[in-house]
Every structure is written in structure tokens, then in C-alpha cells.
């Protein structure tokens, strides 16, 4: 209950029906203080247009880049972002938390 997200899943469905490649990125786990809870999501189409968020704007850029790959390959992947994880990712969360984001294609 209390899901006030703008209707990004409807947008994803409409984009897909209009023939766009579409990916969905969802926060599946959080540790420490994370900006958005598990279940928060972001949808991206092959134009690079995206709606929603998985953080307070800290990692969306990286997620969109990965999502473009996922749209191309069709293979889902798990991304992890955190301050202590600079070797894997150049972007981190300023709040000190860690999040895992599942990125999948809408096929």
C-alpha cells in the first residue's frame, strides 16, 4: 500500500507496445541508509528516456547505461552500488548505504 510512484509500469507497457526496447531496473536489496526502498524502480527505453528512480539521483546515470546493454543482450544483470565499492563502480551513494539493483529487459 501507499505506492505513490508515478505510473512508470504503465509507461513501460506503452513503450513496449509502441515497439521500443525497454528495460526495468528495480532496487531488490538495501543495506544501511539507502535513499529509496526495495521495490523502487526505473524504466528506460532505447531512446535513453527514463522514468522513476532507484536512488536519490546518485546512480541513475550508471543504471541507464547498463540498462541499454540489457536491452541489447536481453540478459538480466544485478548491479551493486555502495561507497565501499569503488573498484566495481565509479559511482556511489553519498548517503553511505549500499543497494542492489536488478536490471531486466521487458521482452
Amino acid at each position: 500500500m501507499l505506492d505513490r510512484d508515478e505510473d512508470i509500469l504503465k509507461a513501460a507497457e506503452d513503450w513496449r507496445k509502441a515497439g521500443h526496447g525497454v528495460a526495468l531496473a528495480t532496487v531488490v536489496e538495501t543495506w544501511g541508509s539507502a535513499p529509496r526502498p526495495a521495490g523502487s524502480s526505473l524504466v528506460i527505453n532505447d531512446d535513453g528516456t527514463f522514468l522513476g528512480s532507484v536512488s536519490g539521483g546518485c546512480v541513475e546515470g550508471a543504471v541507464v547505461t547498463e540498462a541499454m546493454d540489457v536491452i541489447e543482450t536481453g540478459k538480466p544483470r544485478m548491479l551493486e552500488f555502495g561507497v565501499a565499492d569503488e573498484t566495481a563502480w565509479n559511482v556511489g551513494l553519498s548517503c553511505g548505504g549500499t543497494i542492489r539493483v536488478f536490471v531486466e529487459k521487458v521482452a
Partner: protein
């Protein structure tokens, strides 16, 4: 996600029916569990818990890491009575994420000056309520103190199985209300569902404090597991 799954999920959401998307985050395998199928699902306990909390989470089940993404409808609060308590309750409920609607046929009460930014319906309950799609995900609060307005509204709330039904009035007032509603066909079980006197007993005096007591009681009914919920009632 398969487009078909997304389409089904969006259809459930549009109909204000909860659904949970179960994803194996290793393999990408996915299935959608609709509310009516939860009881027969192997993950029943986990699904029920997450749905009640309105929270998505990763769980370990059968050696697999599964993500349960909960899609529950936005909660609504229908406030019958554009009274002083409602002026405090409406913004409070909104800040907790509820869609709030205030109903009162008395136009002197239901005025935009008294309720800025809140949808107001200056109609009797029999006209105002049917189009609102009052449902299980609705907290229903009757605050007019006027049986002509509160009683028909409460009968509507019983029929729609709202998760919370509360009505303003002392024990004495409430006993009389029970008699009136029974005379109009309400069952004892329906009457027992009304929280009255309304609100958790926190010694609330001012309209704003009463609003806090009501909101706390609504939250308890929404979030607590059944057993603890009964104790809080």
C-alpha cells in the same frame, strides 16, 4: 519481464487488486502472484507478510534467492464529516500517503476555505459514496455526529469491507448507533467492526490530537499482524 506479465500486473494495479511479482534474481525467472492466489501459494507465509507490510523484500526460499516485489493499491481515506477534526485529519492522512476525500452534505462545512487542497464532495453519502469505489484498501471515518449522515455512510463501509471503520461518539452514543444500524439490517459482526470511541486511547483532547489518535489506530489496523491487531483494537 515478459510483456504479458507486465500487462497482467498493470491490469491488477488498475483494478486496485494487490499482486506480488516473484523474481529469481539469479536466473531471471519470474511469476506474478495475484491476491486471490496467495492462499494456495507455496510462499504463502512470506507473501502474506510482505503484502501486509506493503514492503518489497528479498527472501531465501528453497535454496533460491527470490525478490518479492509488492504492488499494493494506494490506501484511501474517506472522511464523512467536514468538521474540525477532519481539518486536522485530512492533511495528516495525506502526509502518510493516503488519497483523502471528505464528504459532507452541509455546504457550510464542506467549503474549500476550510479544506484547501482536499477533494470535497458536498453531497449526501448515498450520492457521494457509490462512485468512489470504496474498497478493502480504504480507511473509513465517520465524524459528523449526525445519524442522518453517519449511519448510511457506515452501512456502505460495511458492504465494501473497508480495512478500517471508525465513528466518532461516546460509548453511549455508539450503543444507540448500534441499535439504529441493526434496525437497518447491519449484523452484529458489522457493528463490532466499528472503532468507537474512535482513535487509540492517548488522552487526546484537541481536534488535532484526536486526528493523531485516529491516524495511529488506522495505521495499527493496516500494519499489525491479525493477532496484535485485535489487541490494539
Amino acid at each position: 519481464m515478459k510483456l504479458e506479465t507486465l500487462r497482467e500486473l498493470n491490469a491488477e494495479r488498475a483494478a486496485r487488486r494487490p499482486a506480488i511479482l516473484v523474481t529469481d534474481t539469479e536466473s531471471g525467472e519470474q511469476r506474478l502472484v495475484k491476491a486471490k492466489d496467495i492462499a494456495g501459494d507455496p510462499l504463502r507465509a512470506e507473501l502474506e507478510k510482505q503484502l501486509r507490510m506493503g514492503k518489497s523484500a528479498s527472501v531465501q526460499a528453497g535454496g533460491r534467492r527470490l525478490f518479492l516485489n509488492v504492488y499494493a493499491p494506494t490506501a484511501k481515506m474517506v472522511i464523512v464529516g467536514a468538521v474540525h477534526i477532519s481539518q486536522a485529519l485530512a492533511p495528516l492522512a495525506r502526509s502518510l500517503g493516503y488519497d483523502v476525500i471528505v464528504i459532507d452534505p452541509r455546504t457550510a462545512f464542506a467549503s474549500p476555505e476550510r479544506f484547501p487542497d482536499v477533494p470535497l464532495i458536498a453531497e449526501w453519502p448515498d450520492v457521494a459514496l457509490p462512485p468512489l469505489n470504496v474498497d478493502r484498501y480504504t480507511a473509513f471515518v465517520a465524524l459528523t455526529h449526525d445519524p442522518k449522515i453517519d449511519d448510511p455512510a457506515l452501512l456502505h463501509a460495511f458492504a465494501r469491507d473497508c480495512f478500517y471503520i471508525g465513528a466518532l461518539g461516546s460509548r453511549k452514543t455508539h450503543a444507540k448507533r448500534g441499535d439504529r444500524l441493526r434496525a437497518q439490517g447491519a449484523k452484529d459482526g458489522d457493528i463490532a467492526r466499528i472503532h468507537a470511541p474512535i482513535g487509540l486511547p492517548i488522552g487526546a483532547v484537541s481536534p488535532s490530537e484526536i486526528a493523531v489518535a485516529i491516524m495511529a489506530e488506522v495505521t495499527a489496523q493496516l500494519r499489525l499482524p491479525p493477532k496484535e491487531r485485535e489487541q490494539a483494537a
